[in-house]
């Protein structure tokens, strides 16, 4: 039923840009397209938002809470969004990044937390030795990322996992591009150190 609703919504609003959808979301009680527009907008960004949150907080429940918080803020403060000042993506991922970093500050993941170890398996079809090695590697990468300072981690996740350009990532993190470059430089140095091939 939910999927049907999404299909109908898509037929009505699918061709609209994010900014246009946000204008409908902020339209107030009088705009009947407010909820369908929000559903579509959230559906467009949820997967990416969830992946970012997962990589920052390293825990499924916390990641869901972070995404929930970001979506709720978008809904509540939709009227504050100004397309003249930033694109919707920048605004939304900034809210998400702040929520994730905030969560990390309040509740840092315990050292060696591998709750989501099973989710690190990159290829379900792989079996035996190969799968074990891949899982070990994924675990090692997750551990190396988890010890990075939060803002360095965010920079790596945005630029290296989610393919934001450095300019976009800098806007999301409210930094100037030089500062982001410096964060990335330090993060890469730490990561290369901790991910050196084991002899």
């Amino acid at each position: 039923m939910y999927r049907d609703e999404i299909s109908v919504t898509y037929a009505m609003t699918g061709s609209l840009s994010d900014d246009e959808l946000m204008r409908r979301v902020a339209g107030g009680d009088t705009d009947s397209m407010r909820e369908p527009a929000f559903r579509l907008l959230a559906a467009r960004h949820l997967r990416r938002a969830h992946a970012i949150a997962m990589r920052i907080v390293h825990n499924r429940e916390d990641a869901e809470e972070v995404v929930q918080e970001a979506l709720t803020r978008v809904w509540r403060y939709a009227a504050r969004f100004d397309p003249a000042r930033s694109a919707f993506g920048t605004w939304f991922y900034r809210i998400l990044a702040n929520a994730a970093l905030d969560r990390l500050r309040r509740r840092p993941p315990p050292a060696g937390n591998m709750d989501d170890y099973s989710e690190s398996l990159p290829d379900e079809a792989a079996t035996g030795e190969d799968a074990w090695q891949k899982a070990q590697e994924a675990r090692r990468i997750q551990a190396a990322l988890s010890v990075l300072p939060p803002r360095q981690k965010m920079a790596v996740v945005l630029c290296y996992y989610e393919d934001f350009t450095q300019v976009e990532a800098a806007r999301i993190m409210k930094l100037n591009p030089k500062a982001l470059e410096s964060l990335l430089f330090r993060a890469k140095k730490s990561l290369r150190q901790s991910l050196k091939p084991q002899s």
Partner: protein
Amino acid sequence: MTHDPDHDLKHLLRQWQVTPPPADLEARLISAAMRAPQVTPLRRRLAREVEMTFTQWAYALPYKIAAAATCLLVGAGLGGLLEEPVNVAGLALMTLTGGAS
């Protein structure tokens, strides 16, 4: 051909993949988000109140009556204060003398 160490690091990092969110998560999160009340900016709220006030006579009637009464009182009070004091003796004298000063 130049070797790009960033590309290698990116490739290595991407070996840690996260599974996509569960199917029901989307609906759950979106519905929960929409349960929160939307915050309307003060300017838009004021504009809406003004529009309702001028388009529906019964809207906020007690406030309209109170405002009208306040205007009446303030008007009467100011009128009373600013009005030239009436010189009753002078008027009477003018009447008696036929308006000659």
